[in-house]
């Protein structure tokens, strides 16, 4: 990823992007810029996504049939390519989400409770 403006922002690992994109699209079709914004916002600016880095992930997801794409018009009358979840995509999201939660819980257990800042 690129140089970080904010040291608190955590660079995203590869592969996690897929899940986040799918999750974002649960709320309805969105274009690339919108997805990037959404991830940033809902993670409260912690997860940094270089917008450009979204696209390989989007292509991958499209190739696997989990999302569909179509050209359309954005809210401010700009042409944009909108991505939407497919049925398989939804199923994949459910699988991935549960896997992630399990992994996060396990890591949390290993690391122990967060020390209270002094």
């Amino acid at each position: 990823m690129s140089t970080q403006d904010d040291p608190d922002r955590v660079a995203l690992l590869q592969g996690t992007l897929d899940v986040l994109i799918l999750r974002t699209l649960v709320f309805g079709p969105q274009h690339g810029q919108g997805i990037a914004r959404a991830i940033l916002q809902s993670s409260e600016d912690v997860l940094l996504v270089e917008h450009g880095a979204l696209y390989p992930a989007l292509q991958r997801l499209e190739a696997q049939g989990w999302i569909d794409a179509k050209w359309g018009t954005s809210s401010n009358n700009r042409k944009a390519r909108f991505y939407a979840l497919t049925r398989q995509g939804r199923r994949q999201l459910a699988r991935e989400t549960s896997r992630w939660r399990k992994m996060a819980a396990a890591i949390g257990r290993v690391l122990g409770p967060e020390p209270v800042p002094r």
Partner: protein
Amino acid sequence: MSWRRRSQADFDAEVEAHLQIEIDRLRESGLSPEAAEAAARRAFGNVTAAQERYYESGRLLFWDRLAQDTRFAVRLLARSPVLTAAVVATLALGIGATSAVFSLVHAVVLRPLAYEEPDRLVQLYESGLRSGGEADWVSFPNFRDWHASTRVFQEMAAYRYALLTMTGAEGAESMLGLEATDRLFAVLRVPPLLGRTFLPGEDAPGRPRVAVLSHGLWQRRYGGDPQVVGRSVSIDGASYSIVGVMPASFRFPNAIPGEVVVPIELWIPMRASGDLEDRDSHNFWAVARLADGASVAQARAAMTTIARNLARQYPGSNKDMGVTVKTLKEYVSGNVRPALLVMLGAVVLVLLLTCANIAMLLLSRAEARRREMAVRHALGASRSRLVRQTLTESLLLALAGAGAGLALAHGGTRLLVRFGPAGIPRLDQTAIDTGVLTFTAAISVGVGVLFGIAPALLGARVNVHGALKQAGTRASLGAAGRLGRQALVVGQLAMAVMLLIGAGLLVRSFVRVAGLDPGFRAPQVMTAVVSLSPLRYRDPARQAAFFEEVVRALEGVSGVRSAAVTNSLPLTGINDQGGFTVEGRPAPAPGEDGPQANRPRVSPGYFDTMGIRLLDGRRLDEHDRVGAHAVAVISELAARTYWPDVSPLGRRLAVSWTDAGPEWREIVGVVESTRHFGLEAPQKAEIYVPQAQSPSPIMMLVVRTVGDPAAVVPAIRAAVTRVDPEQSVFAFQTMEELLERSGARRRFQTALVSVFASFALLLAAVGVYGVMAHRVAQRSREIGVRLALGARPRDVVALVLRSGMALTAAGTIAGLAGAAALSRTLSSLLFGVSPLDPATYAGVAAALVLVAGASAYVPSRSAAKVDPLVTLRDE
């Protein structure tokens, strides 16, 4: 994988849209347009990288890069057309020559014979002291005994050549055919195209006569008529039924070792004749198929035992006769194999030379481009990418060269077949085929990879800083490059020397052979063959009378100086060899064989017509006929060998025997010996007997003309027709043609090797020039300094020339040593010249020093013209 990929443009539009939307949002939150754009781009990340990533994803990058490399390579090669043309031309010549010769060798030596399991086929022939240890033809009773006694062969057959005349509705024509025993086709196991081949027992007397046609005959005479099986045809006056046609690829035998290559057109069962029962008449050939599991060694052992048994049983005829078993392959190509392999060796040397030249050319270019490589490396090209790019260039060159080379090879092969000498078996089967194509593809790819890898690796191991610093022309690969260059040139010179020595020795041999006296005067003599039908000319007296009349008729033709007949003409491979008895000479001791000679049956005018000089006594004349005193004329060699201290005139010998004993003949004359078996072949004793006293149904007409021999051909035909309208004459050829044909093979070899040697010399000269020019360019600064410090131009020339001559000396010595080491392989091809002939070696060394010296001189002159101001300034 996506079925229909989005175009790059579509993706770019999406990225553009993304950026626009982001810019809009930022502007809404109060940023200025410029700041918004900057922030949007920053947030996006590297736009170009994203586009590149998209471009690269899902594409077969390999093909893409390859296309790019190829396009670039083509542009680059087009920019230096002279170099490209030089490389492609050199490669084309090298590969073309190699492929042509290789296809020749492949067809003649390497390709398997077109029979089933051909390595199980062997040729059998008799050998022994009788024929001087050489292989001799087979006698039929011997063959029968072999057939009955052995189990080491599963099938055996005997055959002989026959000049057959076919008559009928389609006209009369004469052709060369084969009379064979019934199992011939069982030995070869080639199924017929139409009908069938011989049935067992079909060669027994009294059985209906059958004939098998060749494909060519079938096409020519019967127009490929599928209903030809079952038709009857008249052959030599007897009625035969056509039972089968052989496929076009079938040829048997593959060649008559010797000078004549005429396709066999007809196969008929063995006809009755006196020599079928004569154990002394060696007029047949035998071929066999090994039994399953038997080896050639076993066959040889078995046949040796059988031969020994027969020698015990028939001491008169079979004393010390052995049986030689040779695989058919070896038999067919055996005597030309060494020559062809030598040619192949020569051509491979030339190819190596070519490769060396090209390597140097490309090496120079790689050096010159070192700077370019450094720049590209600095701009981000990986090393492997650079290597791949130069590899593509070299492969492109190699493929272009190979393509041109293949076209050249195709034309070259055609030339070889057309102008190649007649004596090489299967020459006409030479063609570019998969074997050759594979070979050519292999060399060209090998060449391409070799040239691609070496300079590329050297160029890629680039010290960027150093390379960028060095000025273009003086860019070099350092000591390794120089040494490599020098080694290449020395190698080239050595190879050129070896080829030149080979060519020189061959040329000297050729001159020796051409200077030999054949024993007769060849110019203005026309020959032809007349084969009398055995049915209509059963009586020998009638045969003799026919030919006497023909000679008389011929002598009456205007333009004819003299005419004669003989049953054994020099240089045709047709002879009448056998034993003879010398009166007064003790019978041969046990373990020894009696004297052997060629015994032509000739008409009286033979010696005059052929221009064979009389040395003593008299020639044969018309008084020497049946009932008169039996006479003979012998050759000078016979006289010297068997009557060394006395005149042979008046002495007696016998070439035929009856139950009453030898039929003595008195020697009435001695003539000069001829080189009957070929200019280079050993001479044998010759005993001429009058054809009137010893007739033969097949004779060759010999006619000495006043003017052009070809002009009398119609007259000869007319004369024969006047004597017997149903008799045909064929195989017209002049003695000069025969003489030329007998020398053709040697001429061919010599010419070919000489061409290669000249080419090699040219390449080596170019190589020397290239290296010297390069060195001069490299040392131009040093030379400038020398000149500035007061050296004379002459000194500079000497300096450069010295290093050039050092290279030449090294190359020449290496070449002389190499030639000496390989001298044994060439010795079988030489005549009258030692393979280590000092004159040739010295001559070649001198020639090379001259040529290389001249090549080195040119750049040395340009070295002297170096302007010190220019070179010293050019840092």
